[in-house]
């Protein structure tokens, strides 16, 4: 597009771009703490509704627990996705970011990292407390937290693709859910499966390893997909 050749990105410019985007989005997030609190409350409330809908008996809750805690984490991630790009798209910041000579995949990676730190990480930290409500004990709670720590970044990464693709599209939130939730299915299966495995006396090793493998794959692939999607959105 531009007549001048863009210099090949080196490691320094990649990390500088990542750090800049991460710092900026974290600063914005921390200046609207109420919004972060509301998202966390959403998670707590959804998780607390299931016992009301089924039964307070410990056996039922123990069976439901991992699935409920994970499904609610998926929904909390989904609800927070529009925050990732929508405001920047609306006021033109995203266009400026895309125009910068810094590598776009690194810039969007910084934004995705900030998104995970402000949404996925709090959920993973809070989940063991809520696990108590679902009759989970020591090891199960640790595995739950570990699985969420490995799984929620994948949600932020995959979700970012959907969030970028739906920029400027009609249908907003429900369209985003239709695009993103099917892609979340493997994370849900392995994440909830990790706790189930511990409960039935097996090792959670395979599930955690698969989650870690998925995370690595997503870390490598999604920054480029999201950068491509940003360019499409700005066409």
């Amino acid at each position: 597009m531009s007549p001048t050749a863009v210099p090949q990105p080196d490691a320094a410019s990649v990390s500088a771009a990542f750090a800049w985007a991460l710092g900026r989005d974290l600063r914005i997030a921390l200046r609207s703490k109420a919004e972060l609190g509301v998202q966390l409350m959403f998670y707590v409330i959804v998780v607390s509704l299931f016992p009301l809908a089924s039964s307070p008996s410990r056996e039922v809750l123990a069976t439901l627990g991992p699935g409920v805690l994970w499904t609610a984490a998926l929904l909390a991630s989904l609800l927070s996705l529009p925050r990732l790009f929508a405001a920047d798209f609306g006021d033109g910041t995203l266009e400026q970011i895309a125009l910068s000579p810094r590598p776009l995949p690194a810039l969007v990676s910084g934004k995705m990292a900030a998104h995970w730190l402000t949404t996925g990480l709090p959920v993973a930290v809070l989940a063991p407390l809520l696990g108590e409500q679902y009759a989970m004990d020591g090891t199960e709670l640790w595995i739950l937290a570990a699985a969420l720590l490995l799984g929620t970044p994948i949600l932020s990464l995959l979700g970012a693709i959907g969030a970028t693709l739906t920029l400027g599209a009609r249908g907003g939130g429900s369209l985003l859910a239709l695009l993103v939730l099917p892609l979340y299915a493997p994370v849900l299966i392995f994440g909830a499966g990790a706790v189930d495995a511990v409960r039935s006396g097996l090792s959670a090793g395979p599930q955690l390893s698969l989650l870690a493998a998925g995370l690595l794959l997503a870390l490598v692939g999604t920054p480029f997909a999201v950068a491509a999607a940003v360019r499409i959105a700005l066409d």
């Binding site: 995959l158 693709i161 693709l165 099917p182 299915a185 499966g193 698969l210 997909a225 959105a233 066409d235």
Partner: protein, 248 residues
């Protein structure tokens, strides 16, 4: 003879070719389907364990195969659309999505009606059913994204990217669901250990697959023609194409 494939990457030269091919495959679809139904419903013997209910596989299996295969084909055209920025590739991907969704829905629907007499339930969380259901969601997501974006060129590229992301995910989804299923259910409900198929049943299945495949090709080409006319309505050749009817 060397065919210049690039020639057909332009809608104006592809449009008449697609029309001819759609007719050929439409005829093939009718012939194969009638032959397949004849073999499947009349020639093939009644199954010893499942009775006549098994005959629904002559529709079920081809549609399930097509549902997966069309996603691959759609991802292929999407990759071409993104890589070479060719309009026609994106139109092909757009034309394939509804047929793929239809095939996935038919596979689930026919599977439910096979499951009722055989398994005693319309729906079981069998690994293949679950992954076909997620595949249907992926198709519907692509169609919905297409409808939600007004600019067709932007919709082309957004849908192409989504199709490629989905194509990377489809095997992961498939294996995760299979794994989940083996952990949670006994293998009491399993078709992998199905008894050997009679030769005529296999023949019927293959002929029906050829029929369904031809149907998919014919319908996709017919749909891509409609998309070309709709998108290129500003172009002179389309205007002259529709002028005789439109002038009156």
């Amino acid at each position: 003879m060397i065919v210049n494939w690039y020639r057909y990457s332009s809608p104006i030269s592809f449009y008449p070719l697609a029309g001819r091919l759609a007719r050929v495959f439409g005829v093939l679809a009718v012939v194969f389907t009638l032959a397949g139904l004849y073999i499947g419903l009349i020639v093939a013997p009644t199954d010893a364990t499942q009775g006549d209910a098994y005959r629904i596989i002559f529709l079920h299996v081809p549609t399930a195969w097509m549902a997966m295969f069309i996603y691959l084909v759609m991802a292929f055209w999407s990759a071409l659309a993104l890589g070479f920025n060719t309009r026609l590739s994106a139109m092909m991907a757009q034309a394939l999505a509804p047929t793929g969704a239809l095939m996935a829905a038919l596979a689930l629907w026919s599977g439910a009606f096979w499951g009722r007499p055989t398994w005693g339930t319309y729906w079981a969380w069998d690994a293949r059913m679950t992954s076909t259901l997620i595949l249907l969601f992926l198709y519907l997501g692509i169609i919905a994204l297409r409808n939600a974006i007004d600019d067709p060129r932007r919709a082309d590229r957004a849908c192409a990217l989504l199709a490629l992301v989905g194509a990377v995910n489809v095997p992961i989804i498939y294996f995760s669901v299979q794994w989940w299923n083996t952990l949670h259910q006994g293998s009491s409900i399993s078709l992998t250990a199905a008894p050997k198929m009679a030769m005529t049943m296999l023949e019927g299945l293959l002929v029906m697959t050829a029929g369904v495949w031809s149907y998919c090709i014919a319908v996709t080409l017919a749909r891509v023609r409609a998309i070309i006319v709709e998108r290129e309505r500003g172009a002179g050749w389309v205007a002259s194409l529709i002028a005789p009817q439109g002038a009156r």
